[in-house]
Every structure is written in structure tokens, then in C-alpha cells.
């Protein structure tokens, strides 16, 4: 099967007074039709910028996608002109943003906001578009859609607004939906509702989904494959199962160890309360990235080679031969032993 989306060596830089911020630096990945891909990382690691680059929504200036290719459905969408891009955006590729409070227009009713894309991309009349919009609202679980569609965004709660955003993203039967932290602003019980909804809708309709999040739990539950990003680069990729049971990058291991988990043991063998293992230090400044591996300053396993040479993504031993598992670490083999103890619940 050919990938639906192929990102090759994407580079998006921001040109600021302090210098060039390499927000996304040489990132490559693929999305297969209908799959759910997770993009995990902390704030400032470039996960949102990489998604906005795909939609060509990077504010220019100061930002610019300076290199790479984004092959979507057989064409490089970084090369096409803005009119063609507008025909893709919303129609074949749609986005769900983090803040349902700020991404809807407060002075327009939902009717206007939902029908706009349908009229534009599907060439339908206002009445047909409204009928479609009502169906969509019902589909995403908004009760009484006929009445609700005439209301304004402030009359909806946060979870309801995110449902509207999902309806909007689905309105033109896209092939790919990019969800940028879709549930971060929502409460736990609402978060579960929204993620279940997205999962079932994308499965039913065969839409590919990129979930961008900092929440490792969300990705574990909903993604087929996971990309872990750090300082503008993908540092590990594999199936969700592999990333969680056999992490092979010290950053991924650190992330998994530093979050308290409901399934975690609270006492160690001596009966002492178990401590979290934080990743010491701060993420690096993207303007002055150090030479070599950008994680080495916070890494317990760093060796001399990490200072001089940045590690590329290299295949690691994995339990699943179909899905390649790659890690950008010179010492990923040592981590294999660590991961074993982690999987057994003693790490």
C-alpha cells in the first residue's frame, strides 16, 4: 500500500532577532491511509509546527519551510500554488486545533461556519450544505442539531465545541485529519468521550489521523504508530506497542519514567515510597542547538561520540518484524536491557 502522506526531510525555520529557530529540522515520516499516527513531544519540540507546515499555515514571516517535500496523494504540496493549496485544505486534509475556545469564530453562528467549507469545496447550495451540517452535528453527538446549529460558539461548552471542530474537519470527507492536542483543554471524562468519537469516526470513514499530543497515555490508547520528537527532530519511531514496551531512546525512556501512572507501583522493594525519575535540566534552546545529539546534556548514557556526531535514526532490534522500530541514539542497545526490566515492572 502506498502511503497517503510522505514527509521527507521537512525543515521549518523561524527567522527571529535572536537568530534562526530550527523548529522542525529534517523530519521525515509517512502516514498510511486510514492509520492513526501519534506525534509525541513536549512544548517547543516542533510537533505543532510540523503539522502546520503540512497545511502550509506557518506565518511567513518569520517562519518558512526552507526544505523538504510533503507528498500528499501523489503531489508535493509544498510546491503547488496557494489556490491549489486552498482546494486541499479543509477538503482533503483537515485540522482540529487544541483550543476549541479560540478556533471558532465567536461572531458567526455554527451554521455559517460549518456550511462555508461544504459550499466551497463540495459545490453544494446553502440549503443542501445546511442539511449536511445538521447531519454532521448529529453524527458527532450534539443533541438537537437543528436548533443548536443556529447558535453561537459561546453557547457551547468546551467539549461540545471540540465536537463541532471535529464535525467541521469531517465535513468534506477528508483523507487526513491532523488533530493538534485535541483534548488538552478538556476534562478527563470529556477527553475520553472526544477521543472515542474521533477513533470511531476515523475508523468508520477510513480517514487517516495524526494525533499530536504531549500525553503518552492518549497515544498509547489510540495510535497505531508513534513518532517521538525532541528539539525539532524525530528521535524514535515504532509501533505504539514497541515504543511503550521496548523504548530505545533515553528521552522516550525518561518520558515514560517521569510521569506518574495509575498502573505504577507505589512502593519499592524496601517498602519506601517510589520516587519519580525526572529528566534533569531543560530542553535546549532551538536557536543555539549544540553540536552532536541535542539530548546529550540531559542524558544519563551520553558518551564522547554523542558530543561530536548527531545520531541518525537507526533500526533497533524489535519484537515486530513488520513494523520497523528506529531510534536516534548511539547507545540504543544498552537501553534494550533497561527496557526489559521496565517491561517487567521493575524499572
Amino acid at each position: 500500500m502506498d502511503p497517503l502522506l510522505e514527509v521527507k526531510n521537512l525543515q521549518t525555520y523561524f527567522f527571529t532577532y535572536e537568530g534562526v529557530v530550527k523548529a522542525v529540522d529534517d523530519v521525515s515520516y509517512e502516514v498510511m491511509p486510514g492509520e492513526t499516527l501519534g506525534l509525541v513531544g513536549e512544548s517547543g519540540c516542533g510537533k505543532s509546527v510540523s503539522a502546520l507546515s503540512l497545511m502550509r499555515l506557518i506565518p511567513d514571516p518569520p517562519g518558512k519551510t526552507v526544505g523538504g517535500e510533503v507528498m500528499f496523494d501523489g503531489e508535493d504540496i509544498l510546491q503547488i500554488d496557494m489556490d491549489d493549496m486552498r482546494r486541499i485544505r479543509g477538503a482533503k486534509m483537515a485540522m482540529v486545533f487544541q483550543e476549541p475556545m479560540t478556533s471558532l469564530n465567536p461572531v458567526l453562528t455554527l451554521d455559517r461556519q460549518l456550511t462555508e467549507t461544504i459550499q466551497l469545496h463540495m459545490g453544494k447550495s446553502r440549503d443542501e450544505a445546511r442539511k449536511d451540517a445538521v447531519d454532521l452535528l448529529a453524527r458527532v453527538g450534539i443533541p438537537d442539531p437543528e436548533r443548536r446549529i443556529r447558535q453561537y460558539p459561546h453557547q457551547f461548552s468546551g467539549g461540545m465545541r471540540q465536537r463541532v471542530m471535529i464535525a467541521m474537519a469531517l465535513s468534506c470527507n477528508p483523507r487526513l485529519i491532523i488533530a493538534d492536542e485535541p483534548t488538552t483543554a478538556l476534562d478527563v471524562t470529556i477527553q475520553a468521550q472526544i477521543l472515542e468519537l474521533m477513533k470511531s469516526l476515523t475508523q468508520d470513514l477510513g480517514v487517516a489521523l495524526i494525533i499530536i499530543t504531549h500525553n503518552l497515555g492518549v497515544v498509547a490508547r489510540y495510535a497505531d504508530r508513534v513518532n517521538v520528537m525532541y528539539a525539532g527532530k524525530i528521535i524514535e519511531r515504532g509501533s505504539a506497542f514497541e515504543i511503550y514496551t521496548n523504548p530505545r531512546h533515553p528521552y522516550t525512556v525518561g518520558l515514560l519514567d517521569s510521569v506518574p501512572r495509575l498502573d505504577q507501583r507505589l512502593m519499592d522493594d524496601e517498602g519506601q515510597a517510589a520516587k519519580l525519575v525526572p529528566i534533569e535540566g531543560q530542553p535546549p534552546d532551538l536557536v543555539n542547538l549544540p553540536q552532536g545529539c541535542s539530548f546529550r546534556a540531559r542524558c544519563r548514557f551520553a558518551i564522547d561520540k554523542c558530543v561530536t556526531e548527531a545520531p541518525p535514526l537507526m533500526p533497533v532490534e524489535s519484537n515486530n518484524s513488520e513494523e520497523p522500530h528506529v531510534s536516534a541514539c548511539w547507545r540504543s542497545e544498552i537501553l534494550g536491557v533497561q527496557a526489559l526490566s521496565y517491561a517487567m515492572g521493575t524499572g
Binding site: M160, D187, I190, L255, S258, P278, I279, Q282
Partner: protein, 346 residues
Amino acid sequence: MTTAEMPQTAATTPAAENLLLDVRDLKMHFPVTSGILFQRAVAYIKAIDGVNFTVRRGETLGMVGESGCGKTTTGRCILRLYRPTDGQIWFNGVDIAQAKTGQMRAMRRQMQIIFQDPYSSLNPRMTAGNIIGEPLAVHGLVNNKREYRERVAELLNNVGLNPYMADRFPHEFSGGQRQRIGVARALSVDPDFIVCDEPVSALDVSIQAQIINLLEDLQERYDLTYLFIAHDLSVVRHISDRVAVMYLGKIVEIADRNAIYENPQHPYTRALLSAVPIPDPVLDAQRERIILSGEVPSPLNPPSGCVFHPRCPIATDDCTRVNPEAREVLPDHVAACINVPGYGPY
């Protein structure tokens, strides 16, 4: 002012001497006003509506719930940042619910708060040193400039910052470092009790662990008692000794940490726990999931009977009528649900 000068006497406090805080039937109703010149209350938002709990000396009580459930309001009432509508707050043997402003200022030497947002809770025009040192001056805890500087340096050191950072302004710090400043400020008066209001939720995952560990170390070193307010159930499980679960202005369940997480009784607690994703695809797939329908109702117009009944998977007809009081359903395990075994007749 010492506690002896307070109008209330310790004689009426509960017998258990290791209780630091005893909150009884606390209510905080915010008026919704109408009219411009002659404002009158047309309705009340019942942010907290009859909350009872205790905090023992040296323990961490975790308080969880979704946004709008009243957990932050509870924390702020205890510090008397709000004057509660009704109820009693016994702190160290003194009822502070109705204490006067001056008395309260003295009490705040014993109780402090760490705020959620390290970006908006620090004055951008004050240096880190002055933010941390201001309480020292307010409470007269230092005699001269030199002592002041030494104490600020010590506090910075205690929270893992460098003393030379005292002259920097908040914008020069990262989110995690700012939260450390917030912690140092709370510690400056050497309090017994700290309300931690979502202290890590604005921070990145790898930084959260640093702050949680810092709070745990400080608790051990200074014998602190925490009320730890958060919406992240995993974080609360990690740090708390006991946990209270709030929903729409009421505590629906309160028990020992392990009891809450391993044997939750209230249907809301069960749903809440099952909604938390676990970063392990295998384990997560095996768990029972309860997806609640609908959303939290408005506290302006709460449902009749049990406030949770419109979303409750096990609600019965009685739930629409009976407002369940919190009762002990198991030893040291309090829940407010008439359908929990052990609740008894209602």
C-alpha cells in the same frame, strides 16, 4: 498575634490532636448580580455546597475533580482568599471561617498557597528575590537587609535554584523554574500547611516530575502538610496519602489513597479512574472503560437529588429525589451514593 488572642477557643475543636485542619459543612455561594446601580443577587452559584473533610498533620490530602467542581474554591476558602458563605474551618484549633482580616494575616504565616500558573502568579516587575522576600518583610521575620538577603539565598537554594538568580525577573526563568520561585515564596514564612493548587498542570511532563519530587522532599524536610489540588489522577495518586473526589461542589468520596484507587465505591470515581489513559497499550486494552455521557451540569442550577444522577450509569429513581449525604461505607472510606453497598437506609 498568637492563637490565644483569637476570639474562638480551642475547647470546641475535635478531640483528635493530630488534626491540623477540620472543614465542616463549608459552603461558598457566589452571587450572580443584576442591575447597574442597585445590584441585587438574582441567583447563586453554589461553587461549594456543604463540604466536610479533615487533614491530619504531616499528610497530603489530594483533591481531584473536573474543572468547575469547586476544588480550587475550597483551597481558597481555607486560606480565606474568599470569605465562605457558611461553615467552619478549624485550623490548628481556631475557626478561621469568620476571622477578621488582621487575624487572618497573622494566620497566613502558618498557611500558604502555590498557584497553578507560574506565568501569571508572579509579579513581572519584581525580581525573584523580592517575590520570595516580600513575605519576610510583611511578617517581620528578618531584622535587617543582610538577614533578608541570606534568607532569600537559602530559600532559593532549598528549591534548587542558584542564589545569584535573586536579581532576575520572572520572564528570565523557564516554567519549571518559575514554579520553584512560587514554592520558595510559599516556604519563606516557614508555614505548617500549604495548599498546592494544580502546581504542575501548566508544566511539561519531564519538568512535572522535578517539581513533584521537590514538593515531596520539602514535605519530609520541613514537616509540611499539603492540600494537593489537581485534576490529574495519576499525579494525585503518586503524591497523596488520602484522596477526596469532588463533583459539582460536593465531595463524593474520600478515603485512603489505595482504597480510592483500588476499590473505588462511588460511580463517579470509578468513571473518572477508567477515563485516565495509561501509557501501556497492553494493559490499557484490558481495562474496563466507563465513558460518561453528557457534561458537568451548571452549578447555577444543579440537578435535584444527587447532583451526579443525570450522568450516572447506576442511577435509580430514588437518586433524582434523595440528596445523598457523605457516609462511611467502609472503615475510613466515605462515599455519597445511595447505591453503594454499605450506605445503609436513606
